[in-house]
């Protein structure tokens, strides 16, 4: 079959998968601590094309490289700072700068930028799903049941006493992180971790870094590329139609 079919087909499939990713960004424009996914496409490996059946050339000669289309190679997570919304809620915390909060889940330590925490009956700071936020000593942070304040370095003072410091980490290779859902990241690539220099702001919440304008532009671009690829398939189809039905006509 004509190679053009398959090449255009890979284009359509890649754009469709891109659209899925963009859609996920679009519906998460209001999710606190959400980080955009960006799609990186790559061409398939190039293959060498030889020229044959050309009477002017004595031997088979190389024409050059050509590849068989495009595929979605990987997703890059965009860790740009999201907008900080002032909520004046004591248990909301935002990070300005690079870094993540650490939370304890049954599957191990996870990381998040979403600071919409709550306090449970025993005075522990936790995420809305019930995962406890960790302090620098490695234990869940207990803020007690009264008022507590958190300074810009993450030191927690509860009822006038020092209750510890929030554990904040930063990663050498942020792309080693993968998303898990529930606004959590996990260290898939085992990147080295260090302390974070982010400023902690109590009473604020970092919103999603997915911007509506960007999402709309991406959606439109992907849609039009999808459409162009479809036109390529149709044109290839028409060419074949000519070849099969017209040229051979007696």
């Amino acid at each position: 079959m004509v190679r053009g079919f398959y090449t255009a087909g890979t284009g359509m499939i890649a754009q469709r998968k891109s659209m899925d990713v963009i859609m996920n960004n679009a519906v998460n424009v209001e999710t606190p601590g959400y980080k955009n996914d960006k799609v990186i496409s790559r061409t398939f490996k190039d293959r060498l094309i030889d020229r044959i059946n050309d009477p002017s050339i004595l031997n088979i000669s190389e024409v050059g490289d050509m590849n068989g289309g495009v595929h979605v190679d990987e997703l890059i997570i965009d860790f740009t700072q999201g907008n900080i919304d002032v909520t004046n809620q004591m248990s909301d915390v935002a990070l300005a700068g690079e870094g993540f909060f650490c939370v304890q889940t049954p599957e191990g330590e996870r990381y998040t930028r979403a600071g919409n925490f709550t306090v449970d009956t025993n005075g522990y700071l936790q995420t809305p799903d019930g995962y406890r936020v960790l302090g620098t000593d490695g234990n869940p942070m207990q803020v007690g049941n009264g008022d507590f304040s958190i300074d810009t370095n993450g030191n927690v003072a509860a009822n006038g006493q020092n209750a510890g410091q929030l554990k904040l980490v930063s990663f050498e290779d942020e792309q080693a992180l993968r998303k898990q859902g529930d606004n959590l990241f996990y260290n898939y690539g085992n990147s080295a971790m260090g302390e974070s220099n982010a400023t902690v702001r109590q009473g604020c919440l970092e919103m999603s870094n997915a911007a509506m304008a960007d999402v709309m532009v991406d959606m439109m671009t992907v849609y039009r590329v999808y459409e162009s690829n479809q036109k390529m398939v149709q044109m290839t189809d028409e060419s074949l139609d000519l070849a099969v039905n017209q040229i051979g006509k007696i």
């Binding site: 963009i22 996920n24 679009a26 519906v27 999710t31 909520t87 979403a114 919409n116 859902g181 999808y226």
Partner: protein, 255 residues
Amino acid sequence: MIQGFYSAAMGSKAQQRRLDTIADNVANVNTVGFKSTRMDFKDAMYSTMKKQVEGQDGNLELGHGVLTANTKKYYHTGSMKQTGEPLDMAIQGEGFFTVVSQGGELRYTRNGAFSVSEEAAGNFLVTGNGEYVMDTNGQRIDIPAGTKGEEITVTADGTLRINSNPVATMNIVTFDNMEGLEATGQTSFIATEVSGQPRRVGTEANVGQGILESSNVEMAKEISTLIRTQRAFQLAGKGITTADEMESIANNMRR
């Protein structure tokens, strides 16, 4: 079908739910003692989009949309409104009045717009919903018939006096985890396992007489959240339309 369809549909649903909480807040902007709610979102699970090409290990985790994470109630004190009515009370510090419903359920409220009921058993201090205000002994508060408003005074710890004679002390309580309280009706709450047991509050309650606590809904914030919700909803709608048109392109490839 494109995964995008489902993600976009979840987006619409999530924003609609947030719209409901905003509408509730706005409708209660004038309700005494009302506490506003806020809804937060979280992203849904991720799964690998496709097989990796030739031994690569890049990130191919595709998200599946958005979910509502929780609804948080703001317990900030609303502003205090002077009314001058002797039976209008407000807790200016932390705490809730303990009340019992007609059916015997123990509830807690910040709504101090009280009045006196006239029943065969006596004249009791009641809330606007007909719940009886409880004192520290767990009894209803009896106001003798014929008592004039000016004769009733209330001190900061909730002690009610008629002509300077103490009658009863209202049971003002607070909780370990206020966010764990369950709302019943507009301004009453019931204790749950998560909120912990009520514990008495003394003079820190700072009960004031002749004042009412307004709703803590901030209209400016609600309107701006409403606009953001509306735009997010439109975006999700655009997503559904675009996904639909892409499928239509695929379907119409062969005429």
